[in-house]
């Protein structure tokens, strides 16, 4: 499970460099996310631009990551591909997560305030 991370101000940008988050890798994804976000900034922006496919195991793992960040920290998403976006929309999880169209939008708000 390859993840690339970059810290920006109060946020960490995590790019998933894998084409799929499915039942074969969901647990590894969750474990790796726990590692890269441990003791990090309060905002976590998960970039799913390279992920073409996410099944219900992958969706459950994203929800689990949000929960393990705990209160006071947020998980936001950006760059969803069409099939992944549809899974979030159908399951109403698009109402649970803040979803930005792309990384630029995810970090734009912060710059305008600063």
């Amino acid at each position: 499970m390859e993840l690339h991370t970059e810290e920006r101000d109060d946020a960490i940008h995590v790019v998933v460099a894998e084409p799929r988050i499915d039942s074969a890798v969901a647990i590894r994804f969750k474990d790796r996310m726990r590692e890269v976000t441990a003791d990090g900034p309060p905002r976590v922006v998960l970039d799913l631009g390279a992920v073409d496919f996410l099944d219900s195991s992958g969706l459950g793992a994203v929800v689990a990551v949000m929960k393990l960040l705990g209160p006071g920290r947020t998980l936001e998403l950006c760059n969803l591909t069409p099939t992944v976006e549809k899974v979030f929309r159908l399951t109403r999880m698009d109402r649970v997560f803040t979803i930005h169209p792309d990384a630029e939008a995810a970090f734009a708000d912060k710059r305008s305030i600063a």
């Binding site: 039942s23 074969a24 969901a26 099944d55 219900s56 195991s57 459950g60 929960k67």
Partner: protein
């Protein structure tokens, strides 16, 4: 992770016909056979993509078909074969116009009660716990597949359905 709760009360559950004449003629197509493991599921989905792409319907036209097939296959791995990895899954896939026709068979445990689970969105048992982490599988299948039918016969589960081939 893909645990689906049975439909509570049984009210409003769509009627599921047994696999009828929509099914692919068994002698017609050689089934794709994969093992009941997460990697077997991946192989089946890759094969489906290779067989039906490039689609004239658009680059993402297979996305919904892949989602439904993935959930169906994951459930077979987890529930019918109980993660044992023992036993085959047979897929018979055929394009029918703007739809994909699927006939999926396994030799694991039957569906509880002999019927398909309903398609309600899962809810958390405890609202303080936040959103649910599982139970989305049958919701997605019900939301995207059409003409679902299930039959259990001679130790075989057979699930048939159509999925529209369309842009997400």
């Amino acid at each position: 992770m893909t645990l689906s709760k049975p439909f509570p009360g049984g009210m409003g559950r769509p009627a599921d016909a047994p696999c009828g004449d929509m099914a692919v003629d068994p002698g017609e197509a050689t089934p794709l056979v994969v093992e009941a493991t997460p990697l077997g599921v991946r192989n089946a989905l890759a094969e489906m993509r290779a067989r039906f792409a490039p689609s004239s319907l658009g680059p993402d036209a297979l996305g919904m078909a892949e989602t439904v097939l993935a959930e169906v296959l994951n459930n077979i791995v987890e529930h019918a074969y109980k993660r044992g990895g023992e036993g085959p899954i047979e897929l018979r896939l055929e394009r029918a116009g703007t739809r994909l026709k699927a006939d999926v068979r396994d030799y694991g445990e039957p569906m509880p009660g002999g019927v398909l689970p309903g398609g309600v969105l899962p809810e958390s048992d405890d609202p303080d716990e936040g959103p649910p982490e599982g139970g989305f599988g049958w919701f997605l299948i019900r939301a995207l597949a059409r003409d679902l039918s299930y039959v259990r016969e001679n130790g075989q589960n057979r699930l048939c359905f159509f999925v529209p081939l369309a842009e997400a």
